[in-house]
């Protein structure tokens, strides 16, 4: 008893010590109206592959901002890196939609002035003020790249690709299905249910009431015995499609292209129920030490050339419509391959990842949050 109390006191003391300097730093309000001289340095938290020398080197040369990168393994990693030690250790983060709202509400990132980013006006409309990085008209970062979550099919072994997500819930495909190992996958089931069981009343696959979440979980539990593998890494699914017996699964364009490059006859289709998708945003830490270099980075990384380079390197779609021509110049036909020239309606139809929160967006607070989703996902996998 005594020892526990001592431990508690020590911990509280430690937390207090850590919290005091954090509380002491406060930022003045008001957005910058111009970008000053660079500070010579820029620290980033990024997905691996997002800061390749081919587009980072020209930036360093042009601005004098030396880029230092910390790669994150998951959205949760990113979130923790940005809030640990009171923040301020990193200037920017390339957050995905399942982390961006959390970063905003935890006040780990600050509002930016999109007027300072020339390429912003060239973005597809869907990425100028998307719900995953813009709250009440305030922009908490600049959209970067995105990708749809497609239905991948081996056309030689499976046959003609189906036009519906029903195929991954169909018992006749038992042992051939691969599904991403991520709680956000519940949204895919919810999207499917919103079309096939309208009685449930699912409007937004990321805003589910308890009953709607239970329906999605029930569907996913039925799917479990059919699943060959819940994959954690993209390379796992590539492996499973090459020699693991999987012929159909929920996937990303990245795997489709990697397998095609290896001469595996796969296609990635967008089924009639629509798709979910992920979208990344460069966000500025609320305690950024090098804000000018950060703005210079946002100005640079949204230009057509680095947008196209990154899209082709990583297998994703740029948000700048002018990147299309550059993509085709680098690799013929790649613009259409990654849907970088689709009509606006295509981008609007993708349900992009959002952090599930208890606030349903319609004033009601009865939605299930990301913690409930994580628990539900553990139940699904069993």
């Amino acid at each position: 008893m005594k020892r526990i109390r001592f431990g508690y006191v020590a911990l509280v003391a430690l937390v207090t010590v850590l919290a005091v300097p954090a509380a002491g730093v406060s930022k003045g309000t008001g957005l910058p109206t111009s970008v000053g001289a660079g500070e010579g340095k820029l620290t980033l938290v990024a997905w691996e592959g997002y800061t390749q020398p081919q587009w980072v080197k020209p930036f360093e040369k042009a601005t004098g901002c030396q880029v230092a990168v910390k790669y994150a393994g998951s959205s949760n990693d990113m979130f923790n890196l940005m809030i640990s030690g009171g923040g301020g250790q990193y200037d920017m983060v390339s957050a995905s939609g399942d982390a961006s709202l959390r970063l905003i509400y935890a006040k780990a990132v600050q509002e930016i002035n999109v007027g300072l980013i020339p390429s912003y006006k060239d973005f597809f409309k869907a990425f100028q003020s998307p719900a995953h990085n813009t709250v009440n008209g305030k922009h908490y970062g600049i959209s970067l790249q995105f990708g749809p979550n497609v239905l991948m099919v081996n056309t030689k072994k499976y046959g003609k690709a189906p036009n519906t997500w029903a195929a991954i819930y169909d018992p006749k495909n038992k042992g051939k299905i691969t599904i991403p190992d991520n709680p956000i996958q519940i949204a895919d089931a919810a999207l499917y249910l919103s079309k096939t069981k309208p009685a449930l009343g699912i409007k937004d696959p990321y805003e589910l009431t308890k009953a709607q979440l239970a329906a999605a979980v029930a569907l996913l539990k039925q799917q479990r015995p059919l699943v060959k593998k819940y994959w954690g890494l993209a390379s796992d699914q590539i492996d499973l499609f090459k020699n693991g017996g999987s012929t159909i699964g929920a996937s990303w364009p990245y795997q489709v292209n990697a397998l095609k490059a290896d001469k595996v006859p796969v296609v990635g289709v967008i089924p009639k129920e629509g798709v979910t998708g992920w979208a990344d945003t460069w966000m500025l830490s609320s305690k950024a030490k090098h804000p000018n270099c950060a703005y210079k980075w946002m100005q640079y990384i949204t230009k057509p050339v680095p947008q196209a380079q990154q899209a082709l390197y990583f297998g994703e779609t740029p948000v700048n419509r002018k990147a299309c021509a550059v993509m085709d110049k680098i690799s013929k036909g790649s613009c259409a391959q990654y849907s970088a020239n689709a009509p606006e309606s295509f981008y609007n139809s993708i349900k992009f990842w959002k952090t599930p929160i208890s606030d349903c967006g319609n004033g009601q607070k009865n939605c299930t949050d990301s913690k409930a989703w994580a628990t539900a996902w553990t139940q699904v996998k069993g």
Binding site: Y8, N76, D77, N182, V227, N243, S370, A374
Partner: protein, 303 residues
């Protein structure tokens, strides 16, 4: 200059000498001085971390910001009783026991062969071969098993050549059982080998002189003397299986979550450190019981 030097040396030596005199007069103080540093390190690194874990397990997190809410409650422990956690705990226990028993069954005859049958050169070669996998990264070993067990992998290739049907055990609990057994095998062989090596040959001869047949000698002389080694090995294989989350995620399939998976996902995906802390108490409890059992079997005498 020489005077100065001598003066410093003298005062220095004096302080040291008085310290040594003090430690001679107070032996308790001497012991304290010698071990206080490692004890402090132990307290801060091990015990403090465990206490922090215990304290944290009574908190909850704000699901949105991931920050801990410091209100004391037992919610996390109550949640452990909810579906699917009891199934996962049970599955982990069964898996850890199965792996441990399999390792024992394989390691005992192998270690016996090393000690009694193999010549010195073969013994050395086999011991090196046993520990060889430990020099290779854990991940490489698990991935190589994936290549073997895949439907188009080496296993089915050889089965087909022998005219046998395909065995589709990739991404199942069977695959996990094989991989765990393979990976922890050296940790079982070494203590069993050490235990058997300590059995004097004269005991075997004495048993034979008293009319004990080979099987009787094995059962009543050698096996009881090997028990501490088996128990020591089992502590390693059992506890490592309890905590592992990499093998389930790489070679397991649907319905292969273990305790380690839940802890990892609570931290890595859900950002729910308090629940992870509470759940980490489960293997801690299991191991405490297990260690008490193993102590009865004399496991700690051969560690």
């Amino acid at each position: 200059m020489s005077v100065d030097a001598r003066a410093t040396e003298g005062s220095h030596g004096g302080a040291l000498r008085s310290l040594s005199r003090l430690s001679w007069r107070r032996p308790g103080l001497k012991t304290f001085g010698q071990i206080s540093a490692p004890v402090a390190a132990f307290l801060f690194v091990y015990v403090a971390a465990l206490v922090a874990l215990l304290i944290q397990s009574f908190w909850t997190t704000d699901s949105f910001t991931g920050q801990a809410i410091h209100s004391w409650n037992l919610d996390n422990f109550r949640a452990i009783a909810n579906d699917p956690y009891p199934t996962i705990i049970l599955r982990t226990l069964v898996m850890a026991s199965a792996v441990t028993v399999t390792c024992m069954l394989l390691a005992f005859p192998y270690a016996y062969f090393l000690v009694r049958v193999a010549g010195p050169r073969l013994r050395l070669a086999l011991l090196v071969a046993t520990t060889l996998p430990l020099w290779v990264s854990y991940l490489v070993r698990v991935y190589s098993w994936r290549l073997i067990l895949n439907p188009d992998g080496a296993l089915n290739y050889f089965l087909n050549r022998l005219g046998l049907p395909d065995l589709n055990i990739a991404y199942t609990n069977w695959a996990m059982w094989i991989v765990f057994t393979y990976i922890w095998f050296p940790f079982m062989v070494l203590p069993v080998y050490a235990a058997l090596e300590r059995v004097p040959y004269s005991l075997v001869e004495a048993s034979a002189d008293l009319g004990g047949r080979g099987s009787t000698t094995l059962r009543r002389v050698i096996l009881p003397l090997a028990v501490p080694g088996l128990a020591a090995g089992s502590i390693v294989t059992f506890s490592l299986t309890l905590g592992d989350y990499i093998a389930p995620s790489l070679v397991g399939g649907p319905g292969s979550s273990l305790i380690g998976t839940v802890v990892f996902e609570s931290l890595g995906l859900a950002n729910n450190a308090p629940f992870a802390a509470a759940f980490a108490m489960v293997p801690l409890g299991i191991m405490a019981v297990y260690l008490v059992l193993m102590k009865r079997l004399g496991a700690f005498e051969s560690l």
